[in-house]
Symmetry: C2
Subunit: 351 residues, 2 copies
């Protein structure tokens, strides 16, 4: 037994934001893969297809016709998991059978009129329009709802059922599990150390550099020390920002820029439109708008499944579901690979 090498010797790492652990066994990258191989995403998506309910001019499930939009376009999800008016569940008769009311709204937001574009291939001005619309929705839905979850499922592997560039916004009258968890851990950190957790974390990562992927004057992206997904990243502002809607004009521009740089690197990694689920977390809203939320720091999580190539993903299954997440390369190795990739998208590079 020699001296400890994170890329050679398995160990566990603590995630202070989720108060749990991940098993890092980087030596496992050497094992051959004989399991499921994913279909790469289609390359020939038509720019406009009137049978696709997200396209300008298309008819949706409820019979409505989309306008000829030319920037972002928001509409109510035709099959919403949350509706504004569900009746209260009956009073619970036993602590092992507890239900509570869930009210909310689910919206879909198209990023662009073209189905064959993705965020990294959009212009900075187009990405900026997405950012402004996010802020607008967060203000609008956050007036009454406790939590507004913006998330993007990208790629069939991540359950996305439509190639048109879009995200979803689900607002709820309750704090979902992840929000409750991050609320508790960030509150405890501020109490114990006098500084918001992710503000302290961003400062340290900016110095240490080994997990940095991209940075600019306002933002940085790291593969977090406790990453679970192979190329998971965390996008953080450098200053203390509780909620997305507080971002200044300049910060929105620099966000568009860093998102484009990160997502271009993602696509360049395996030269494929990189699948992921991503989403924004900030201080709760609605009834929480008046409360002290100084422990919160705005951030976005990116959870991409690919591990070895455009067609071989990491499965978070048996041991992960029943015991604990396990990863096959160190976060430092993942960050280094992303950092070293070009910032010009492989599809627009001169041949």
């Amino acid at each position: 037994v020699g001296s400890f090498q994170p890329s050679e010797h398995q160990h566990i790492r603590y995630n202070p934001l989720r108060d749990d652990w991940v098993l890092v066994s980087a030596h496992r990258m050497r094992r051959p893969w004989q399991g499921q191989v994913e279909k790469p995403p289609p390359e020939d998506i038509p720019r406009c297809d009137l049978s696709n309910p997200l396209c300008p001019g298309a008819t949706r499930a409820n019979g409505e016709v989309n306008p000829q939009y030319n920037s972002t376009f928001v509409f109510e999800n035709d099959f919403p998991a949350l509706q504004p008016d569900a009746p209260e569940p009956d009073v619970c008769d036993h602590p092992l059978f507890r239900a509570a009311s869930a009210r909310g709204v689910c919206k879909v937001m198209c990023f662009h009129p073209w189905s064959d574009l993705t965020l990294p291939l959009m212009s900075l001005a187009e990405i900026r329009a997405v950012i402004d619309k996010w802020a607008e929705l967060l203000v609008e839905l956050g007036t009454s709802y406790a939590w507004v979850q913006i998330f993007e499922n990208k790629g069939a592997m991540m359950g996305c059922s439509n190639p048109h560039p879009h995200c979803q916004v689900w607002a709820s009258n309750f704090l979902p599990n992840e929000a409750r968890l991050e609320d508790r851990t960030q509150r405890q950190h501020l109490e114990q150390r006098g500084v918001p957790m992710l503000l302290e974390y961003a400062r340290l990562e900016a110095q240490r550099k080994e997990r940095l992927v991209v940075e600019n004057a306002d933002w940085l992206v790291v593969v977090p020390y406790w990453a679970v997904w192979p190329f998971q990243t965390l996008l953080l502002p450098r200053r203390h920002v509780c909620r997305f809607q507080e971002l200044s004009d300049g910060e929105r521009d620099s966000l568009a820029s860093i998102m484009k740089r990160l997502l271009t690197k993602f696509d360049n990694l395996f030269e494929v439109s990189f699948p992921y689920s991503m989403g924004w977390h900030g201080a709760p809203t609605g009834p929480h708008l008046g409360a002290n939320c100084g422990h919160w720091q705005l951030h976005a999580h990116y959870y991409p499944p690919l591990l070895r190539s455009a067609t071989v993903r990491k499965f978070l299954v048996g041991y992960e579901l029943l015991a604990q997440a396990q990863r096959d390369l160190t976060p430092e190795q993942a960050a280094e690979r992303l950092r070293n990739l070009p910032e010009e998208h492989y599809r627009v590079r001169p041949q």
Copy 2:
């Protein structure tokens, strides 16, 4: 707004074992599915294939040749996520960068010499041999390791890379996240209510019956009130059992029987070899063997991904990863469908 109907009106339900919530939006089952369609599992698996490292007589990655086994067969995983002798990580220099040592072993256990069999198609005596081997491994590895996780990934959809019927056993010197969580919630329940949580829960479900799938004198299987996966089930003993190895001879026979009945129903649901990840949870071992573990109740979790058919699964992605799990049919609806299925396997039914 009429009166509350769980199958019509979305609500959230509390999971007392994980101390979190699930969003139940059963009306969403009506939405059309245009996303990823899974490949059904191959039907023509050769019974014996010497190029498959799990077969009797085959050569494994490390050069060893498997014996001509004719029941179960256990060997060390050739690409283990946990090894017995990793050095200690360096002392942590900051609370946001915490690592700890991880030591353990990873074993693979073949259930049967034939590659074209699965548990529901094995005889009761053959399943009983699997159960006895599980108990033996739990005793052996539990002597020194704090947690011994037995789990089965079945089907390519659940990251299983080999069709040969097998499970894995990962033993660790630490309590994984799920173990820590269930330890805390079960301890609190016993303190507050004077009875182990899952013992009380099994008694109530045996009376209420609406979430029951199969039962016998010693065991019952329910779709838990807080299920996340569409047809998730929980297998529970009727008496208080802390650890698998305490099961009596009769309980092992009745376990073989109830497993066969449950897994046959699973396969019959969509007439396909039903994919899932499953695993056993019981009181911790190793250094915990002497401690009071009376709050623990042995149980197995089954997490199957299929939702609508043999080829359409539920994706736990954007909202689930970033906010909270969401399901599309009620646990009562899922239990009723499973309960009403025949207990004769579709592949052995007379035509």
